[in-house]
Symmetry: C2
């Protein structure tokens, strides 16, 4: 049996990336009508995480809020921020004061994202041991009425500490819906994003009311490593995702399966020695990061019984 | 019977919009291997139309090359360009010297574009009377092996002169393939784009060799007007494309059909008094232009018999 503190404050972030439109427009709407995301037992605060990027409909202004060493230093080691620092560093410091450990950290942060990859209703979590978040994810999987693959960014073999906006809270979850082009608002994805947020809030309210969530198992896709596009001597693409792999996020990729197609029409096969499950296949924002897709492995986590701490 | 001059020089433009990736990568490849687009009877020149925008993977740097009054003035009235002019104006002047009427205009310009809309293999033409281009389009429709809807931007009721990159040539065609997110290279679309260019070049070579192209008819979608998203007092979106309209480019929209869905979940119906055929539904680049889609009407053009002028 695990217990967790009662939840008093929940933040819902949209526009962490300014051109991921369903989160942006859900949060804009909730800023006008906060009652829509109110539950009796806790406060919910909607927030446009990167307002300047939203204004310009760009992913970011200077740097990505996520996964920046400098940012990690600022957030976790209280480094001073020089005035010349990128806009996103200043903004991350503001967010960290309001929602993170630099102030009184919010209990839950729900971070809304879109991807150009065919990821469906992907739930992103950073820990295989946070029973509260795991039970919330299990609740989404069972109760949202949507198919929700779970992407686990925890990798014991990696030394990279991932600092993202949601990791500022005590518990955090990313709702990463796709496929949706950058700068496009798809009604279908907007409605699914909305439903997932409401299902999270329903879970939290039940948890606060003392409901016992039983021991469970949960299927997740755990990150292994990234795979980049084949590139030429100028570091430009020399191949594309193979048509047979495109849109096949979460499907097994077996040794010998087509992986890339060169610009000259030659197929490049996957030559690993075990089955992987690609995710974030052909995400627009990852070309500059050297990521054609993430290789993941499928595994089953045990989820502890959970109840609010008295 | 129409005749046209033998074709000596053809330009293939990619990257007129820097984040429309299949044109960008086809042209980059052909710049390395110009033989792939060589035909015995004419010269083919590949060109990255907006190299700075391609470098940054953005649609444009300062302004769009297309449809800018200022640009029209420069291109058609030989206005001097001040050094402070937007980058795209300078670039348009360079292109116009090399490919357009400021020098010896190229015979044919093939302009490669992508759209986030579900337009399929759309062919864009600007004239209902240019027999050469109409016969080339008819050839693509009949011989490419692909379904190719034809978008006609000529509207007798409109006083806007559309100055686009392809209008610099004697004849011009846009190959507008989608759906493809901005900044994403989809192999399937790359291959279709490539096939369409080769089919154009095959047509031109046959034309040069004296082949007689018989009288035909051609079904086209002629632009009527644009329809914008419903907006709030801040000019921000208050509704999205309705899920039943999304991806339905070229399908008839009848009075009473769902058109938009407000952020609060209310359906807005199409209330025109005649059937229209929407195109460019939910194109990312058109949010800032106030275009949710183009209304078009379907009509059948007569295409004259055509042979090269002796």
């Amino acid at each position: 049996m695990s217990t967790a503190q009662v939840v008093r404050r929940v933040a819902v972030f949209g526009g962490t990336h300014g051109n991921e439109m369903s989160g942006v427009y859900l949060v804009k709407r909730w800023l006008q009508n906060q009652e829509a995301i109110t539950r009796p037992s806790f406060l919910t605060v909607p927030c446009i995480a990167n307002p300047r990027a939203v204004e310009r409909c760009r992913r970011y202004i200077d740097i990505q809020i996520q996964m920046v060493d400098w940012l990690v230093a600022v957030l976790f080691h209280s480094m001073d921020v020089p005035s010349t620092a990128p806009y996103e560093v200043h903004r991350a410091v503001e967010l960290n004061k309001k929602f993170g450990a630099a102030g009184e950290a919010f209990d839950v942060i729900i971070d809304l994202h879109n991807t150009t990859s065919n990821m469906g209703n992907c739930l992103i979590i950073g820990s295989s041991t946070d029973s509260f978040t795991l039970q919330m994810v299990r609740y989404l999987v069972q109760r949202s009425g949507l198919v929700c693959p779970v992407f686990l960014t925890e990798n014991p073999a990696s030394h990279v500490k991932m600092a993202d906006t949601r990791s500022m809270g005590v518990h955090g979850i990313g709702l990463e819906l796709g496929a949706q082009p950058q700068g496009v608002l798809l009604a279908d994805i907007f409605l699914r994003h909305e439903r997932l947020v409401h299902t999270c809030l329903d879970f939290i309210h039940k948890f606060n009311q003392g409901e016992l969530f039983p021991k469970e198992t949960l299927e997740v896709y755990r990150i292994l490593h990234v795979v980049d596009y084949p590139r030429n001597k100028d570091n430009d693409l020399s191949a594309m995702i193979h048509p047979e792999l495109q849109d096949k996020d979460w499907h097994p990729l077996q040794p010998g399966d087509p992986m890339f197609l060169t610009l000259d029409g030659e197929t490049i096969k996957y030559e690993g020695d075990s089955t992987i499950y690609p995710a974030f296949i052909n995400e627009a924002a990852y070309y500059e990061k050297g990521i054609a897709f993430w290789a993941t492995q499928k595994e089953t986590l045990n989820v502890n019984e959970l109840q609010v701490k008295n």
